[in-house]
């Protein structure tokens, strides 16, 4: 099967200047694990996932600790979120973009999703514009239907 047989033609995306708070809202409302970030031509220039925003609000010192279970929260997370809420998502998106084309194989996209630790990957055309997305469950469901 090809990516075109598995993909969802959901073009939900955010622009590079969309504020972080709005992106979080869209992630929540859409139920998507990540959102493509597009420029004015609709070209995918980045991807932002829940993980990236969570990472952005965690204090840097947590990397040095085995566990933070003993630390009081002190509202650090909500304060940090308030701090970055108005900033453009371009400051937090991940680049370069891992993407696939409609003619790519099911094997390629499945391998990519696992190898790169992604829950979803954008599908782009020859000009880099968003055509849809493929989630892990889309691959599994699509392959199951084809049997």
């Amino acid at each position: 099967m090809k990516v075109r047989d598995l993909m969802r033609r959901d073009l939900t995306a955010v622009e590079v200047d969309t504020p972080v708070a709005q992106v979080i809202y869209l992630l929540h409302q859409s139920g998507l694990p990540s959102l493509p970030v597009v420029d004015e031509q609709g070209k995918v220039v980045g991807v932002v996932a829940e993980r990236d925003l969570m990472r952005a609000i965690l204090p840097g010192y947590v990397d040095m600790l085995v566990s933070t279970s003993f630390l009081p929260s002190l509202n650090q997370l909500s304060r940090k979120l308030q701090e970055i809420g108005g900033l453009p998502i371009s400051q937090f998106m991940v680049r370069p973009v891992v993407s696939v084309r409609p003619e790519d194989s099911d094997l390629h996209v499945a391998d990519l999703l696992i190898r790169k630790g992604l829950r979803q990957v954008p599908v782009i055309d020859e000009r880099g514009r968003l055509l849809g997305t493929v989630r892990r469950i889309d691959v599994l469901e699509g392959l199951g239907k084809a049997r």
Partner: protein, 323 residues
Amino acid sequence: MILTVTVNPTLDKFYWVEELPLRLEEPEETVLIRSEKSSTSAGGKGINVAVFLAAQGVETVAMGFLGGHTGQIVLQDLLARGVSGNFLWIPGETRVNVTVLARGKEYHPLLIHEAGTPVPPSAIPLFLKKFERMARDAEYVVLGGALAPGLPVDFYRILVEKASAYGVPTIVHAGGEAVTRALPARPFLVKPDVREELSFGDMPVRTTEEIIQAGRRALELGVGACLVSHRLTGDVLVSPEEGVCFLEADVPVTEFRNLVGSDDALVGGLLGRLLAGDSLCQAARYGMGAAVASAKVEEKLCLDPEAIAREMATVSVRQVEGR
């Protein structure tokens, strides 16, 4: 690519019942009606046009506002039907519209429509930006259906102007002020929904003469063409190139099984044939065939090209004052 905009989409719920008693004669009377069958689908004029075109193999993108769990169901249904979706998510739940059809009287549906969830002011500039990005690559833009609460009454005018700036023709398929306010922006075609008020702006459209007059007035404002339905089986198309086309389907209304969506099949069918190079009048004839075929099936839309072709045999066209 065809871009459709449905700013107040709906989850369409249909119920088929044996009978529909609408009067409560006794005090404290409870009426329980068990439906024999029900169906659910994404709805709204623009969405229905998108679904029709996608089934004909036309690349279609649907835009609008969605919210909540019903919004998710609408999106999933659209994606499953081959339409690309590019909606802006807003708070609240996308509305549910109910149609109840009594066996043997499907031409008298009971419709219950919700107002729709309000669009927050902050969502409007985000939508307009998204719309501009999509519209510039479209061959046509279709603006369909009622405006959602919270949107300015001239919202369609704004969208027509934005599309026109990129040379993209727009079809406005809506009723009330939403369509009349869009006229000065000179859309390519308007298909006003006159079911509720039997008027187009301040012009009555109860007779064919009144429809022609209203259509001519729209053309004077710079609209490319005006298509108005009258009765269930007639349409009048007014355009500068083709004059007045009277389209009539020779079908008894008792053959109709579900009228919801048939108007949208008309627009979808017309647009599909325009893309294939037909004249506006011939495209409208095909659209009528699609509308009649859709009205004759229980599903909202008839997507079978052979069935549509069969119904075209029932559609006659009389053209006056044109080439």
